[in-house]
Amino acid sequence: MRSFDYVRARTPEEAVEAFAARPGARYLAGGTNLVDLMKLGVERPTALIDVSRLPLDRLEKLPDGGLRVGATVRNSDLAAHPLVRDRYPVLSQALLAGASGQLRNVATTGGNLLQRTRCGYFQDPGKPCNKREPGSGCGALKGVHRDHAVLGHSPHCVATHPSDMAVALTALDARVELYGPEGARTVDLTDFHRLPENHPERDTELRPGELITGVLLPAALAGAPSAYRKARDRASYAFALASAAVVLRVADGMVTQVGLAFGGLAHRPWRARVAEAAVLGEAATPAVFAGAVDLELAAARPLPDNAYKVPLARNLALDVLTRLAPAPASL
């Protein structure tokens, strides 16, 4: 690891200034992914701007009934917060399905969104990887890709986004608050992470020097039934092979509101808009759910060794949708 400068920022303004003054700098929050990548030689920052002590460690109720989560709220605290557990259970469940108790105690909300793929080729500087080194090729495409993408991938990159939290936030229509050299802005989370296309080195739409300051959860989905289910190679402490986050409101047997997102399938959390459109306003029955999810997954293009992900994701989504739909009133 090469030597680096270290600056502890007290305000977002100070952080952005310190970052701009140091080419090759990175923001450091919990560091559970960044420090690991530095040890692996994947990240080689010249300076770390420590944002972990910025005053962004609170959850606040918004006047409209939504919730604002500060960027440095730790994953464990977010998962345990009574407002999150009561109003956005899918978020709490997704957080608790990820990592370990030790990691969740340190990892932050902002950092979780910005964690990098766990693709083995990305994490090994001795291997080709267009995300780590543009133009070097994709080792996974014809190599080991059992854990890789089945949706939205390109010949340049077949990596998946590793976060569970982001999948729940995607189903919840969350928005991300950003602050950077050009000021503050807010973007929909669905527009924040990118598909790889020709530039897999860019995970997100974050501009140079921009910092995540918070995440907004909408009032419209507060209290809606929601849940997360994840499949992995062991019972705990492993990344998703596939996962599904669902928010579902049903009235008189008809779907009145739905959010469905998949994890483990793509370069970003996969918002299932096609499936959502196919169930909204329809009867909340297993047959309708199955038809809708199949329509969404018809776009899947599995690689030779990961076709198993398609039926796995399908069954996870159907299980959660069916579980959240109230049993039909018996006549």
Partner: protein, 176 residues
Amino acid sequence: MGSEIQRSETTLRVNGKPHTLLLDHRRVLLDVLREDLGLTGAKKGCDHGQCGACTVLADGRRVNSCLLLAVALDGSEITTIEGLSADGEGPHPLQRAFLDRDAFQCGYCTPGQICSAVGALAEAAAGHPSQVTDPAAPAGRPVALDRTEIRERLSGNLCRCGAYPRIVEAVEDVIP
């Protein structure tokens, strides 16, 4: 300038004692504990946050000390396995339970297992749910720990000897 080693003065309170050190920014807490302070209880297993052998408590919360840059912890209170029991008292109840249950073979993961269990018990008492906690359980109330809960909450600590059944029993023994 490019090859210059950059350092900062950093103060850590470790097991109740303050230590002010001039630290290379690259150094992680685990290495500072073991190499500078002679506290070799926390172990280096994977060095990538995947095995839990390096688990200590930072400001009362269990963490992987291999992934924390020491400079970023300036002012923090660190508790290692060596500091779990107060001076002059016997072993911490969890240390006692691990001995009574023979909850180890080689012992390499044990300090991490015990520090992790101390943190996990505090989290459950503070009402933190886990993946296996019933989502309908009331928020903010202590969570009762059964074997399924203990196994899930300690999943960040690997034991290559496979002493898990007795580790779970040892933790069960100290549940209030």
